[in-house]
């Protein structure tokens, strides 16, 4: 079975313990962080395992590449600690069970190919929209990355199923695959690296593809001249190296990503998973602080990368008069004009 590559010495010699000290949901000082990390590396119980909201951020805060978040989730499973209630965990597991509709959804697909994960609502967009008309689509549970099990306390399911998913894609002979969902991209880059799972094709982040397409059509862009907030999603913490594409895209389309308290490494979770963990008060608090921060920054749009974040936060954002919009829709707005 695939083992997590984690180096005890790297942690011991860490000057900051930022992984836990910077956590936005657990109040923890450096000494405590050191103690708790030591416990966890030794496989012992820690309050961190019980209080973690599974926001993924510690993975980004650790600049030494030692995967504290993957360690936490593995230990949660090992020790039977449930981050969310049993029926929701069951539902999470059931979500990835293929149905008749999932049977081979890539007949005829040719590169360039995009994986739409489990978001059939975007099939029409990618089939009909001129900006994306060159793309073939693969979609469904045979291509589902399974990374969501980091939230539900059963990450071994990822390792169990992911090789087969990778085979499903690789067997079709694709050399490169664009991943619409940031989570899929992060799985096939960060997670597979941490667990030494081979990926025989090149995963491309959707934003990289989007940026290049926009660049090609730069003359058609009508700058939006709008202030925007960007709602980072949890898996973006796993691949901060592609974060630059967000800024590059915004620059191209004339969107100003305004400075605000809860952006970039200090981003707050959309709240969806916190609610799923049944922490209602925290959920309300996190969403309220986040949206108030956007309001104070005077943004016109809240831009989402992840459809799940959109589902979780868009209503609250819209109630406050901020327009919730997916990244690709914002780009289309710039290409086609705001009347579209």
């Amino acid at each position: 079975m695939y083992e997590l590559k984690i180096d005890e010495k790297t942690c011991e010699t860490c000057p900051t313990f930022d992984c836990l000290v910077r956590c936005q949901y657990i109040d923890i000082d450096k000494d405590t962080a050191k103690t708790e990390m030591k416990k966890m590396i030794s496989g012992e119980d820690s309050f961190v395992l019980h209080d973690c909201v599974t926001c993924y951020a510690c993975e980004e805060y650790c600049k030494r590449g030692n995967h504290p978040f993957y360690l936490i989730t593995d230990l949660q499973e090992e020790r039977g600690i449930l981050p969310m209630p049993k029926p929701l965990k069951t539902q999470f597991v059931n979500i990835s069970v293929p149905t008749r509709r999932d049977i081979i959804q890539f007949y005829g697909a040719e590169e360039p190919v995009i994986s739409l994960c489990l978001f059939p609502q975007y099939t029409r967009l990618f089939s009909e929209e001129k900006l994306f008309e060159e793309l073939s689509i693969i979609i469904g549970r045979y291509f589902f990355c399974h990374l969501m099990y980091l939230h539900s306390g059963n990450p071994s399911l990822i390792r169990e199923r992911l090789p087969k998913i990778i085979d499903n894609i690789a067997n079709h002979g694709f050399k490169e695959v664009i991943f619409f969902h940031d989570e899929c991209y992060s799985t096939l880059t960060s997670y597979t690296t941490a667990y030494s799972i081979e990926v025989p094709f090149k995963p491309i982040h959707f934003n990289e593809y989007l940026y290049n397409k926009l660049k090609d059509q730069q003359t058609k862009i009508q700058p939006l001249n709008a202030k925007v907030a960007f709602q980072r999603n949890c898996s973006a913490r796993l691949t901060p190296n592609v974060e630059d594409f967000v800024d590059d895209i915004f620059n191209l389309i004339g969107a100003e990503r305004v400075e605000r308290q809860y952006d970039r490494e200090n981003a707050l979770c959309c709240g969806g998973i916190i609610r799923g963990q049944q922490r209602y008060d925290l959920f309300v608090d996190v969403q309220t602080r986040n949206v108030d921060d956007m309001l104070n920054a005077g943004v016109e749009y809240c831009v989402f990368q992840c459809p799940a974040c959109f589902d979780s936060l868009s209503e609250k954002v819209a109630e406050k008069g901020i327009k919730p919009i997916m990244m690709h829709d914002l780009c289309l707005l710039a290409i086609q004009g705001s009347d579209k």
């Binding site: 209630p85 069951t90 979780s312």
Partner: protein, 459 residues
């Protein structure tokens, strides 16, 4: 028979009378499993007077007469088992009065739930009625006559508990008013008079034809939302219902479980609808309900589900169309269910029996339950989609339905809107004096036994 046809054409225009095979076929069946049987005539009256004349004719000729609304009971309650005249009431679909101050409505018996919903939304947007989760072509009276339930049932009881008055054509042809409307121009209440409504509710048209009805309306809040609490252990469901109903914060509480699609497998969902006139009211109620279920959250045995907006929208829809989609999951257009009314604490036993029966017959299922009153009882449906083009599937489903009726009575429940065989099972188990009382009432009201024969009938 030709003379009866001619007599009917003298009562209503000829275009509203038929003895044509293709039209009789339509009235010979419903979407459930009961054997079809054609009537001899179908007639569509427009007025109470026309209904009265039709009933008098049937009584004189001693031929069966079956009042029909949307024909959607699924249990063959308006299949004319002995032929005769089917009286389709759907031309009588007028709203006669809405009293906004006393919050009641008076309407004709053929008014559909869909039309009433649209009417209120357009003309009285601050008022609502208890919309059942039947297709919008179901008639309001038809739903009430079978003791249907709706979106306000958890707050105010069976939809039949909301009746304020009736106009009824008795089997011998007299027209009779029930409730305050019998002594006053206002149809506001059945009380304080002797409650004669019980002579017609739950009788499936065997004691008379309701031609008009008065019904309570309720305040319509500006906002609605839903939370769905999920558990795996059916033994927890009664406690969840107890705790939520104790808060008195919810509009409607339903349960749901089904093995397909896989995302619903192995979990039981308890839907909790919320309403409010402001965000603050809604959030207050939501918080009360979350707090009430904290013990199940702490034990990790239960939790509020994460829902995408489209799922939420589906669940908020009134009536919900997802039931209709599930009903065709096996394709072939067949759907049958037995929905006994049971004590809430019997949920786990009912659920266990449901799993046993579906396993025994190798069929799929959908469970949908609805809490009635503040946990005073609940409807628990054993729903079986089947393929009409597959005789073997039909046979298994029929057997499962039989076992389900047995199980419903075994656990202390009473099958709701039972088909004729289930009515017989109920009557076999019924207190003998009660049964005799029913027979005596029926004999007094319908001496010639013309009204919807076959139903509530002792052989």
């Amino acid at each position: 028979m030709q003379s009866i046809y001619k007599s009917l054409t003298k009562i209503v225009d000829e275009e509203f009378v038929s003895n044509q095979k293709e039209e009789l076929y339509i009235y010979s069946q419903d979407p459930g499993m009961m054997e079809p049987h054609e009537p001899d005539f179908v007639v569509m009256p427009k007025t109470t007077e026309e209904v009265q004349e039709i009933v008098k004719l049937a009584n004189k000729e001693k031929i069966p007469i079956v009042p029909v609304g949307g024909s959607l009971s699924l249990s063959g309650l308006v299949i004319p088992h002995q032929g005769g005249i089917v009286v389709d009431l759907r031309r009588m679909d007028q709203v006669l009065e809405v009293n906004e101050e006393s919050r009641y409505i008076v309407f004709e018996a053929g008014l559909t739930t869909g039309k009433l919903k649209a009417y209120l939304e357009k003309y009285h947007p601050l008022l609502r009625f208890s919309i059942p989760d039947a297709p919008p072509s179901a008639t309001v009276v038809g739903n009430i006559v079978i003791h249907g339930q709706g979106r306000l049932t958890q707050q105010y009881g069976f939809n039949s508990d909301m009746v304020t008055g009736m106009e009824v054509v008795l089997p011998t042809g007299e027209v009779c008013k029930i409730g305050s409307g019998s002594v006053s121009p206002y149809w506001f209440s059945l009380a304080p008079l002797p409650d004669l409504a019980g002579l017609f509710l739950g009788w499936f048209g065997t004691t008379g034809i309701i031609t008009k009805m008065g019904l309570k309306l309720y305040p319509k809040k500006k906002l609605r939302d839903i939370e769905v609490f999920a558990v795996e252990d059916p033994n927890l469901v009664p406690d969840v219902i107890q705790r939520v109903t104790h808060t008195e914060m919810s509009e409607d509480i339903f349960t749901g479980a089904q093995p397909y699609p896989p995302v619903f497998k192995d979990i039981i969902m308890i839907g909790i609808l919320l309403t409010g006139d402001s965000k603050e009211e809604l959030e207050f109620k939501r918080k009360m309900i979350w707090d009430a279920l904290q013990c199940h959250i702490d034990s990790k045995e239960g939790g509020f589900m994460m829902m995408t907006p489209d799922v939420k929208q589906d669940l908020l829809e009134m009536p919900t169309s997802s039931t209709t989609r599930f009903a065709d999951v096996k394709k072939g257009g067949g759907f049958e269910y037995c929905g006994p009314i049971i004590p809430v604490e019997k949920f786990p036993e009912a659920f266990t029996r449901l799993l046993e029966i579906t396993k025994k017959y190798g069929i799929t299922f959908g469970n949908a339950g609805r809490v009635i009153g503040r946990s005073h009882s609940m409807m628990f449906s054993f729903g079986y989609p089947f393929n009409r083009a597959d005789p073997e599937n039909i046979e298994r489903t029929k057997n499962a339905l039989h076992d389900t009726n047995v199980a419903s009575l075994d656990i202390g429940g009473v099958p709701w809107k039972p088909e004729v065989p289930a009515q017989k099972m109920i009557m076999e188990k019924m207190d003998k004096s009660t049964l005799e009382l029913m027979q005596r009432i029926k004999k007094v009201l319908d001496p010639n036994g013309i009204m919807n024969p076959g139903n509530w009938e002792v052989e």
